[in-house]
């Protein structure tokens, strides 16, 4: 008997937990309210089924508990009942799947007027690139990556010269404008995940992946890496700041272009300080990216072992 009562209690408890839980979706800050709606629809349909089947089961356990002089009913099957159950289940499934696929069609169709920026991942930091005045990102290739050109932009590509480089874990986007996020990784898989935007996508070395969204609320939102990328995975964080257009432009103007940063690197004064020694680059990476001591140790340990 206890089991029937406990099943009921667990169901009641879970329902109460659901409504009392302080742990729930973060406030939405993008156009993907339709994803939230699909989740809520799924929640209601499946929630009702969960409660109904379990209460029915609890009732059956209680009602048909063992009695010495009673016999169970012998009923190998009941085609009609099974048919109904299959039919209703199919209906429920369609009710969840159809809206889901409609929203997915939206998710994979990038609006024509979306502007573009690039997210670049590497162990264990984010950096970003805007296409600059021409609106086109310069070609990149891993073979061009070095200390002066961390993004690996093809040096003589005219589209690349005005690319705006953001060598920090913080990026800004203007509010209410659809944006196509291009994702690229130098080393391993990562995943650009901003809970408030409800969207995420893997970064895959050797490929450029993408997703799109429209930021709808001013604020700053955390980026978490959501694909295991090695020891520092949990510490690979970033920030997306959603700005008004004017502030966004002001922020963008402060960032160096590719041409500027290359010129800086070639400028006299930095000459002779060619950054070849790895230890030196680690130190400057850590200064640039404000990474923790722990990660610095990781990096150093790695470099030591690879230099051996």
């Amino acid at each position: 008997m206890a089991i029937a009562i406990v099943v009921v209690l667990l169901i009641v408890g879970s329902t109460v937990f659901h409504f009392m839980s302080p742990w729930w979706f973060t406030p939405l800050a993008s156009n993907w309210g339709s994803i939230d709606d699909t989740i809520m629809l799924t929640f209601w349909i499946t929630g009702v089924v969960l409660i109904a089947i379990n209460l029915f089961m609890a009732y059956a356990i209680w009602r048909y508990r063992y009695q010495k002089d009673r016999r169970a009913e012998y009923e190998p099957e009941n085609k009609k009942l099974e048919g109904w159950l299959i039919g209703l289940t199919t209906l429920g499934v369609v009710a969840m799947l159809a809206p889901g696929l409609i929203v997915w069609a939206d998710f994979v169709t990038v609006p024509e007027d979306a502007h573009v920026f690039e997210v670049m991942g590497q162990q264990w930091q984010w950096s970003y690139r805007y296409p600059g005045r021409d609106g086109i990102l310069g070609t990149t290739d891993n073979k061009y990556v070095d200390f002066d050109n961390p993004f690996g932009i093809k040096p003589d590509d005219p589209y690349g010269q005005d690319d705006i480089l953001v060598q920090s874990d913080e990026v800004h986007v203007p509010i209410d404008q659809p944006v196509k996020v291009l994702l690229r990784s130098l080393d391993v898989l990562h995943d650009f995940y901003v809970p408030n935007f409800r969207a995420k996508m893997d970064l895959v070395p050797g490929l450029i992946t993408y997703f799109w969204f429209t930021p709808t609320k001013i604020g700053s939102y955390e980026v978490l890496c959501a694909e295991l990328c090695g020891q520092g995975h949990y510490a690979m964080r970033g920030i997306v700041v959603v700005d008004e257009q004017i502030e966004f432009e002001a922020w963008l103007a402060e960032q160096p272009t590719f041409a500027q940063s290359m010129a800086l690197a070639r400028a006299p004064g930095t000459d002779g300080q060619e950054q070849t020694a790895s230890a030196q680059s680690v130190a400057s990476i850590s200064a640039d990216y404000k990474i923790s001591d722990e990660q610095l140790n990781l990096l150093n340990a790695y470099l030591d072992s690879s230099l051996e």
Binding site: F25, T46, Y74, P76, E77, V145, Y193
Partner: protein, 591 residues
């Protein structure tokens, strides 16, 4: 009420093939160590799987300690944590559940339930176990090599799994891959055996549609495994080549911490396709035997036929078939062509239909039953409850667009633990309480069993239910620590601490179970041949535990399906499968 059982009563065709000569052990060593008797092999498989499962369990405590009390346990660093989750995940899925369901329950139950004297290839069956043992030993050896075991996550995704940023990239990953290859080799030997045995060695009258669902579940799961493991095998071997010989199957050009590596041209997503082409059927490889077994537990202890036997069989087959066309639902945000999402979301949600039907039929088996709340029955009910919960969250993750925010969060961890961690484990416990009397001749202690059940069932639910909500919030999985994150309230840490405490309680409750297992070997009440009054053949043996060759001088002849419980007019409320129609009152004529 209808009078038709899915297989007509009374029909038992003449034997088509002669009985095979049985191998007889000549010494103690060939009887108990290098044994070719499926029952001994079953015990060897089970003992090994449970032992390595304990390692997996202890690892889960360590992980939970870290998550519940992040600053407290300084001996756990990030590398350790990733090694824990990887070994824990792989051990639980492959080396515990797969091995225990197929190698353990499969070996013990298939011959006995179909009325055979042994598996058809006993020598290969023996080899299968020893290769499995070797695989386990190699896996454990990775704790003793420089760099320790791999911390690449149980999915072993390249490039990360073979590069220096991941712990265990030196030797751990190599041992892991070699161990998996061995496991697959060992499994294939056993698996071919189970399939051929079910197809060829059934006793007279045991038609396919008279097989108990336990056998059906294990049978279909084995076929899935035989078709799915090769994908893991090739993926594993290719990854091994990438790691050891610097080929580039999965490796594009890579700049690692400022230095270019000698790789180029490969694609990491290919590995994911291979992995999940295996990985998704794997979910059902541990699921289907559980479905089958729980059907039998429910039927026996509710004293009622399983409801809708034929549909239950077809549902198993449908789920098995569909499980090969849903794999990319694990890859919705992997960067594969997003248009695949339409296809895979549709196939995935279609699987919900036969799965839901199974749930309905389990519950309808209880309805109008005469339910004995024995320990196996309690675990079976616990399974239904847990499985419904985990199945429902699968509908979230399968529906591509809903998966986008939830994938790679704690929601996923909660979902798969419910559906393929806790639910099958509850069945395993129920099955052990159910068949222990046959295996040892003694009953397990009821009071200890009650204690074990309540803590495990309620505890496991309390561990994993709340984790869904951390997932909604956006807490990612595989995070060594969540640290300062603005959107995560401090209360999440209290929740984590609570979950950890419950984990430890549930963990220690398992000691009671082991105590019961050992104590009852000598102190348990004698069970007799058929303590649960069940119909299937393993309960009709002349000796308990069954002797070499299972069935004395003559194999049983089967006249009916496995679910003749509470047949109107019959004297007892169960009619064994091997009881001829004229031996029972009421249902004398073949229909």
């Amino acid at each position: 009420m209808t009078d038709t059982t899915p297989a007509d009563v009374g029909f038992a065709p003449p034997a088509e093939v002669e009985e095979v000569e049985l191998y007889h052990a000549k010494s103690w060593i060939t009887k108990y160590v290098f044994s070719q008797d499926a029952k001994v092999i079953a015990i060897q498989y089970s003992a090994t799987a449970i032992a390595v499962g304990m390692v997996g369990l202890v690892l889960s405590w360590l992980m939970r300690l870290q998550l519940g009390f992040p600053e407290t346990f300084s001996f756990i660093d990030a590398a350790d944590y990733y090694q824990f989750i990887t070994m824990h995940g792989m051990i639980m899925v492959i080396y515990l559940l797969t091995a225990l369901f197929l190698g353990g329950f499969g070996n013990y139950l298939i011959p006995l339930m179909i009325g055979a004297r042994d598996m058809v290839f006993p020598y290969m069956n023996m080899l299968s176990y020893w290769v499995y043992l070797l695989a386990v030993l190699l896996l454990m050896a990775s704790y003793f090599v420089p760099g320790g075991p791999t911390g690449a996550g149980w999915t072993l995704y390249p490039p990360q799994s073979i590069l220096p940023g991941t712990p265990g990239h030196e030797w751990g990953i190599i041992l892991m891959l070699v161990s998996l290859v061995l496991f697959i080799v060992g499994f294939t030997m056993g698996g071919l055996n189970y399939v051929v045995t079910v197809l060829q060695a059934r006793t007279r009258g045991m038609t396919l549609m008279r097989l108990p669902l336990t056998v059906w579940g294990i049978f279909i799961a084995t076929i899935l495994a035989l078709l799915a493991f090769p994908a893991l095998l090739v993926g594993g071997v290719m990854l091994l080549l990438d790691r050891v010989l610097s080929t580039s199957f999965f490796m594009p050009s890579i700049v690692l911490m400022g230095e270019s590596l000698d790789y180029g041209g490969g694609t990491p997503i290919l590995f994911q396709h291979l992995f999940w082409f295996f990985g998704h059927p794997e979910v059902y490889i541990v699921g289907l035997p559980a479905f089958g077994i729980v059907s039998d537990l429910l039927s026996v202890h509710a004293r009622r036929n399983i409801f809708g036997y034929r549909m239950m069989v077809w549902a198993l087959i449908a789920i098995g078939g569909l499980s090969f066309v849903v794999w990319a639902h694990h890859m919705y945000v992997s960067g594969m062509n997003p248009y695949f999402g339409f296809f895979f979301a549709t196939t995935t949600l279609i699987i919900a239909v036969p799965t839901a039907l199974k749930v309905y039929n389990w519950v309808l088996t209880l309805w109008r039953g005469n339910i004995r709340l024995t320990i196996p029955m309690l675990f079976a009910i616990g399974f239904i409850f847990t499985f419904i919960n985990g199945g429902i969250t699968g509908l979230f993750l399968g529906n591509v667009v809903v998966d986008v925010p939830l994938s790679d969060t704690m929601f996923v961890v909660a979902h798969f633990h419910m559906v393929m961690g806790v639910a099958p484990l509850l069945v395993i416990f129920g099955a052990i309480y159910h068949w222990y009397p046959k295996i040892t001749g003694r009953m397990l202690n009821e009071t200890l069993g009650q204690f074990h059940f309540w803590i495990t069932f309620v505890g496991a639910y309390s561990i994993f239910f709340p984790l869904h909500y951390l997932g909604f919030l956006g807490v990612p999985r595989r995070y060594y620590e969540i640290g300062e994150t603005a959107f995560i309230p401090a209360s999440a840490q209290s929740l984590n601490a609570f979950v950890t405490v419950v984990t430890l309680i549930v963990g220690f409750a398992q000691l009671v179970f082991f105590y019961n297992l050992f104590r009852s070997l000598t102190k348990g009440e004698p069970a007799g041949d058929n303590p649960w009054q069940a119909t299937t053949l393993e309960w009709q043996t002349s000796e308990t535990p069954p002797g070499h060759g299972n069935f004395g001088d003559e194999l049983p002849v089967v006249y009916r399906w496995a679910y003749d419980y509470s047949v109107p007019g019959a004297v007892d409320d169960f009619i064994p499968q091997n009881k001829a129609p004229d031996e029972t009152t009421g249902r004398s004529e073949p229909t």
